[in-house]
């Protein structure tokens, strides 16, 4: 290490004096724990002390990968990402609408933003009631629409109580089971997520990005007589690429570690584990069963996954952006 001259030392002291409170917290609650997690995932660490602490090599990882439950929850986690493209297109649409300089833009923007600002336990409890198969508002609306079209016998899906899903995934093994095709808890949560996402932060990001698209470009295209769709496709959309890229990366990062609140508040991970995501799985392993070592291992795998996906996005996205 190079020796510091007195001025550099003084600068270092000043810099550290500002940084210190944050740095202590950072080391104690972020960097330290990450290192600790890494070490703990190779032990049978159990906070209750029922088992003596022991180094067990890669057993936690071996168990995880050979456990069919882990893979089911892994697939569940991926399943919820289906909502991401829908949310992106939804918020882009909302932003395009708001971008037309309509009257009351601020009012619309505020109203559309409300679902995302209020997201949380209260709203999840609300949706749990809305999804009640018997008297929830969602099925009441569906059934009255069906009645209006002459199908009084129609019954809405069982939503949070049903294991059925749009991809007909089975509940036991990763795979397709035809009689599981339908609409169930997973769709219910995705739909709720869309409700919360469409007018939210992504819309604001798109709105700002749309404001930055050089007017000359669109005007020139209009002069050439290009259709509105073609202008969007060839001029606006490429200009939005960095924003889209940012939203996708953030969506993946958030989506992969998501699903905990929904599971804890609305479904307890059920029915038959179909709404248990990796985050909820980690919670259960760590804070219900207190198998901390194993939970640390799962959380590291999740971290690796997020890291990998972000790298891929970055590589793939950079190409998109730079043309």
């Amino acid at each position: 290490m190079k020796k510091l001259n007195p001025k550099e030392r003084r600068n270092l002291m000043i810099g550290l004096s500002f940084l210190l409170p944050n740095l202590v917290g950072f080391l104690l609650f972020t960097l330290g724990p990450v290192a600790f997690s890494f070490g703990a995932s190779f032990t049978n660490w159990d906070l209750t002390g029922i088992e003596p602490l022991q180094y067990i090599g890669i057993d936690n990882f071996a168990n995880m990968f050979s456990d069919s439950q882990f893979w089911l929850y892994f697939v569940n986690t991926l399943y919820f990402l289906i909502g991401l493209p829908l949310a992106i297109f939804g918020s882009l649409g909302a932003a395009l609408l708001l971008h037309q300089k309509v009257k009351g833009q601020v009012v619309y923007r505020t109203l559309l933003y409300l679902p995302s600002v209020t997201s949380g336990v209260a709203v999840m409890i609300l949706w749990k009631a809305l999804y009640n198969p018997d008297w929830g508002a969602v099925n009441q609306i569906l059934e009255s629409v069906a009645r209006a079209f002459g199908h009084p016998e129609f019954r809405g899906p069982s939503w949070l109580l049903s294991t059925q899903n749009a991809l007909a995934l089975g509940v036991e093994k990763v795979g397709v089971v035809p009689n599981q095709w339908g609409i169930g808890a997973r769709e219910a949560l995705i739909f709720m997520g869309l409700w919360g996402a469409i007018g939210g932060g992504n819309t604001l990001l798109y709105l700002a990005a749309l404001g930055n698209v050089p007017q000359e470009l669109t005007e020139a295209a209009e002069m050439d007589g290009a259709s509105r769709f073609r202008i969007f496709r060839n001029v606006t959309w490429p200009q939005l690429a960095p924003t889209t890229f940012f939203i996708i990366v953030m969506g993946f990062i958030g989506g992969l570690q998501g699903g905990f609140e929904q599971a804890r508040v609305m479904t307890l991970g059920g029915p038959a584990g179909t709404t248990t995501t990796l985050a909820y799985y980690i919670y259960n392993k760590a804070f219900v069963e207190y198998q901390m070592g194993y939970a640390c291992a799962v959380s590291l795998v999740l971290f690796g996954l997020i890291f990998a996906v972000t790298l891929v996005n970055w590589k793939f996205g950079n190409k998109e952006v730079s043309y």
Partner: protein, 277 residues
């Protein structure tokens, strides 16, 4: 030609309004149901008619009778206020150190900060919990506040903000012999007010809605924050849908108020890279 264009534009604007209004209705309908259900007698919650035949305003009072809801409010605001002030202060100081001061190792450390922003909270949650157990801070306000009082994201955000504030001012002050602390408090901080406000509002709302950490930390009833209180209310009195909705309404109102009041900062925060929402 021009007239046709005008008419086209008008028609478009009409349809834009139609779509925007339906989108807004879609966004608001659940809230409307929530408010209406919160005013119904229990027997009517299941009825198809969304409007109560009998308006039960006392449902709201009943929530306070069944659970210490005022206490939940206080706890949430109390914890969120402490977290917000500490996060803003520690982030501003660190942001200043990263943005305005030059010292050896600065960029390396900053990269370490940036790198950890991608780590899922779950990874740090488990060791942090164990740390709290060993420090005997389980089930205490300190345990709720302290681990949340430092934010790599806040540091990052305020650093970016401070970078964008013109450096000529503090350079001039430095030449005049002002000490770094004076520059920080008297020049940089006042210039960063919008950034500080943005971080404050985000942190406050984040802490107000925070669920995971209080869920594992809190044991006593008198320490429950609103989300935990709501969960408890749902588990124990879950069948009283009308009261549950009344509680939800009361939970959501401060958020809506805060959002409407601080919308300007909110929008800025999101554009600065806030991931929430």
């Amino acid at each position: 030609m021009a007239a046709e264009n005008m008419r086209g534009a008008k028609g478009r604007s009409f349809w834009t309004h139609v779509v925007l209004i339906s989108l807004s209705l879609f966004a608001l309908a659940p809230f409307a149901w929530m408010v209406l259900a919160s005013l119904k007698p229990l027997s009517e919650v299941e009825s198809v008619n969304p409007v109560p035949t009998e308006w039960r305003w006392d449902n709201y009072a009943k929530v306070f009778e069944q659970v210490p809801f005022a206490r939940y409010y206080f706890n949430s605001v109390f914890v969120a206020a402490w977290v917000t002030v500490l996060v803003v202060l520690t982030s501003a100081m660190a942001g200043y150190a990263f943005a305005r001061l030059r010292w050896p190792g600065r960029d390396l450390l900053f990269r370490a900060y940036l790198g950890t922003m991608m780590i899922p909270g779950l990874v740090t949650m488990i060791p942090n919990y164990s740390l709290m157990v060993n420090m005997k801070l389980l089930d205490s306000f300190q345990g709720l506040v302290i681990p949340a009082a430092f934010s790599a994201f806040g540091t990052f955000m305020l650093r970016q903000f401070m970078m964008s504030v013109h450096p000529a001012l503090d350079e001039a002050a430095e030449i005049d012999g002002a000490r770094p602390w004076q520059i920080f408090w008297d020049i940089v901080m006042p210039l960063c007010k919008p950034g500080l406000a943005t971080l404050a509002i985000f942190t406050f709302m984040g802490s107000y809605g925070s669920f995971f950490w209080p869920l594992i930390m809190v044991k006593s009833e008198h320490l429950r924050t609103l989300p935990i209180g709501m969960l408890f209310f749902d588990t124990v009195y879950g069948r009283q849908t009308n009261l549950l909705m009344a509680a939800s309404v009361m939970n959501v109102i401060p958020l809506v108020a805060l959002f409407v009041a601080g919308q300007k900062f909110f929008v800025r925060g999101i554009l600065l890279g806030g991931v929430k929402g």
